[in-house]
């Protein structure tokens, strides 16, 4: 426009031109921004939003603490501890592998050579390895200490991750009932049966993080975890331990295959100890054969033998058919149809009272007394005593035992069942049946869970659901008890070894032929057992010891002394004084 260009105008150029150029530049820039905006918002908005979120947003699991399994006094049989796994990045650890391996070996007690190999090999067949487990389930205090120490010494490449740890402080004590955990899930015992109650529900938290700290006004949501509930059992940790040790000594010394022992609180039906042998260490279940991981006391069937005579004679007395003084002529052997019944000891024709039949454990005498039953009566009594049906105390895989239906019984079946053969039971069933006599004829359902708990199958179990049912009269129970006391008598009985000095003890031995797994017949091996209670006139504990296939000895000599030791300990532990009354003097012969 102006004809005379000024020195400044020349340098700046024409304002219009400048404006135009400026607008063009601005328009170009804006269109680039616009295009980018369309690209970001229109074409693929989600992936960018996610990338932005992933930058600082952190989601973590808030693990629920697993409930403990406790004994009756609240001592843990199983508890959970915060654990960590230690992970190595071999690429970083390789330069100082030898020193680090020695350090870890000292601190964590892990295999040196194995660890060294893991720390050193950071390349296999051209693939780079950046992850090796060094140790799993290390208590987090130890793991953190080790890592801090390693850091201080300048060893790089170790990290930790959460790895919950289940600890069984008493090792093998009660392990057959408590069970154990696998890597991720429970594998056996209460751990598995009550998993829902024990495990609880995991929670989670999402929050934004900057520089390792939570951003105060950033996104933050949290679902709190619901911790698992404890499971309280009726087991007494110390008594359980003692029972297991006595049982192991008994099984080892008798050269036996296996055994179990049950201690039951006579009045409440709570199981104070359920010991199995051989057992396993719950902290190392893989070290033991699979056959030892269950509970033989509930999962194995066996024929109870003479211990069952207690149920037969108490039923007979309850029906008013016999009394402890009933006179029975016992012949040397008894021919019944095509079979002959023998006693365990050779004898001529002897005159025994019913008390004598029990004290000397005569099969023939029991069969002769049982002849007084009408068809079906013994079957009905045995079912009321709880035989032939599961106790349902919350132990998985329990066997109901095998009691043939009453209408299929022949005379020979009744003869054999009357002295404890031709029927099978599980240990707790039988202990509860003998406890019925101890408890004055009222059967209390056995329990191993204190209070109430629901199994994963929805079954409700526990002491809150104890049932009591009269099976035989108080008089019948008392008279049976008086006869059982004669079993312990050193002069007339067969099991003086079961005596607890100073106390009145009632009990019954059992030596039964055993059915072999292979042939399905009596294979010449025995089950020896002893069941009893004390103090006889005011019982507190019913104890049942069963030993399978001992090399030598019978119920009185193998299981009897074990019974006496466990009973003595239980009476001492629970401070049960002797009743101070005179023991039974029932005549055994006439």
């Amino acid at each position: 426009m102006p004809a005379t260009p000024s020195p400044r105008g020349t340098r700046r150029g024409s304002p219009q031109l400048r404006l135009r150029v400026g607008f063009v530049v601005i328009a170009m820039l804006l269109s680039v921004f616009g295009a980018r905006l369309v690209q970001l918002q229109g074409l693929d908005p989600n992936s960018y939003a996610q990338m932005a979120a992933a930058e600082g947003l952190r989601t973590i699991d808030l693990p629920a603490a697993r409930g403990d399994i406790l004994d009756r006094n609240g001592e843990p049989l199983a508890d959970s501890v915060d654990g960590l796994m230690i992970i190595a990045d071999p690429r970083l650890t390789a330069p100082h592998a030898a020193d680090l391996a020695a350090f870890l070996y000292k601190k964590l007690d892990i295999d040196y050579a194995d660890t060294l190999a893991k720390l050193r090999e950071h390349e296999v067949d051209g693939t780079e390895i950046r992850f090796e487990y060094i140790a799993r389930r290390v208590p987090s205090t130890i793991a953190t200490e080790v890592l801090a120490e390693a850091d201080k010494r300048g060893y790089k490449g170790l990290t930790t991750e959460r790895d919950p740890l289940r600890d069984y402080p008493a090792g093998d004590v009660g392990s057959n009932l408590v069970g154990f955990m696998g890597t991720d899930e429970p594998l056996a015992g209460f751990e598995r049966t009550f998993n829902k109650q024990l495990s609880g529900t995991d929670g989670s938290a999402r929050y934004e993080v900057g520089g390792g700290n939570r951003i105060p006004l950033g996104e933050s949501t949290q679902t709190a975890p619901v911790d698992g509930q404890d499971l309280k059992t009726t087991i007494d940790l110390d008594l359980q331990w003692y029972t297991q040790r006595v049982l192991r000594q008994t099984v080892e010394d008798a050269g036996a295959e296996s055994g179990f022992a049950i201690v039951m609180d006579t009045r409440s039906g709570g199981l104070l100890a359920v010991a199995d042998d051989p057992t396993y260490d719950a902290n190392d279940p893989t070290d033991s054969p699979k056959a030892d991981l269950g509970s033989r006391a509930l999962q194995d069937v066996y024929e109870p033998g003479s211990v069952e005579k207690v149920l037969t004679v108490s039923s007979l007395i309850d029906l008013g058919l016999v009394s402890p003084r009933t006179k029975i002529v016992v012949p040397p052997q008894l021919n019944r149809e095509d079979r002959t019944i023998h006693d365990w000891f050779p004898h001529g024709t002897i005159p025994l009272t019913l008390a004598g039949v029990i004290a000397k454990s005569s099969n023939i005498g029991t069969v002769l007394a049982a002849d007084k039953f009408k068809q079906g009566q013994l079957d009905a009594y045995l079912r009321q005593f709880g035989l032939g049906q599961r106790t349902d105390i919350g132990v998985r895989g329990e066997t109901p035992g095998l009691l043939p239906p009453g209408n299929t019984w022949t005379h020979q079946t009744q003869d054999r069942i009357a002295f404890g053969q031709s029927l099978s039971v599980n240990g707790v069933q039988m202990a509860a049946a003998v406890n019925t006599i101890a408890n004055g004829g009222v059967r209390i359902s056995p329990n191993v869970i204190e209070g109430s708990a629901t199994t994963d199958d929805g079954k409700v179990v526990g002491t809150d659901h104890t049932t009591r049912k009269r099976v035989v009269s108080a008089k019948a129970a008392r008279e049976t008890m008086l006869m059982m006391e004669r079993v312990i008598d050193p002069d007339v009985g067969v099991a003086p070894g079961a005596a607890v000095p100073g106390y009145r003890v009632a009990g019954k031995t059992g030596t039964a032929q055993r059915v072999g797994a292979e042939c399905g017949c009596y294979d010449g091996t025995d089950t020896v057992s002893f069941a009893g209670f004390a103090p006889a006139d005011n019982p507190r504990f019913t104890i049942y010891v069963v030993v399978q296939n001992p090399a030598t000895g019978g119920g009185g000599s193998v299981a009897g002394p074990a019974f006496a030791k466990i009973m003595s300990y239980a009476l001492r532990r629970y401070a049960v004084p002797p009743t101070g009354t005179q023991p039974s003097r029932l005549p055994v012969d006439w």
Binding site: P169, V173, G502, Y503, S568
Partner: protein, 196 residues
């Protein structure tokens, strides 16, 4: 400005007063406020500055709280882990097996049968005594199978014919024992011979 109105009002009849009043309305001159802008500006800037500084302080304190939270959370986790670790140690120490082993090392044994001391009367019920068969708290060592644990092979070697009677007697007497004893016996025999 109100003076003429008074004059008019005095001269005209009272009934027209209102009308005249209306007719005489004049525009009020725009009154200019002369207050300074400075206080207002100062106030606004104060509010602005206060807001910004306050927000900054608030944010800082939130961040501080966040740091504190993180630190305290870490401490809480550490302490919880420590507590669990200690509880675990305690449970291990309370393990009946450990206690029994410690007790047995001290020479303690199980009692044979319960005995009671009645505190009121000082009377003792039952006879306290030690159990005759001690409780074995460890598993018995497994018995080696015969193939791994062969019986020692014992060969009975007849004594070499010797010149003196005394030596011969010495070796024969020990031939049923193991080799070491036999040698010892023989040495003793030799010694005897020398003494003789």
């Amino acid at each position: 400005m109100s003076t003429p109105a008074f004059q008019v009002r005095s001269r005209i009849p009272r009934f027209a007063e209102d009308a005249i009043e209306r007719a005489r309305l004049t525009v009020v001159p725009n009154r200019r406020t002369t207050t300074s802008r400075a206080p207002f500006l100062a106030l606004v800037s104060m509010v602005l500055l206060g807001g910004v500084v306050g927000l900054l302080l608030f944010n800082t304190s939130m961040q501080q709280a966040s740091f504190a939270t993180t630190a305290l959370e870490q401490q809480s986790t550490r302490l919880a882990a420590r507590e669990q670790g200690l509880a675990m140690d305690l449970d291990r120490l309370r393990d009946p097996q450990r206690i029994a082993a410690a007790a047995q090392r001290l020479g303690m044994v199980q009692a044979c049968s319960p005995a009671f001391l009645q505190l009121g009367t000082g009377k003792v019920t039952g006879a306290p005594c030690a159990d005759s068969t001690p409780l074995r708290i460890y598993e018995r060592a497994p018995v080696k199978p015969a193939s791994l644990n062969p019986k020692p092979i014992i060969k009975h070697v007849p004594a070499p014919p010797s010149t003196t009677n005394s030596t011969a007697n010495g070796t024969t007497a020990n031939s049923s024992g193991d080799t070491a004893t036999a040698n010892a016996g023989r040495a003793a025999g030799d010694g005897k011979k020398k003494n003789q």
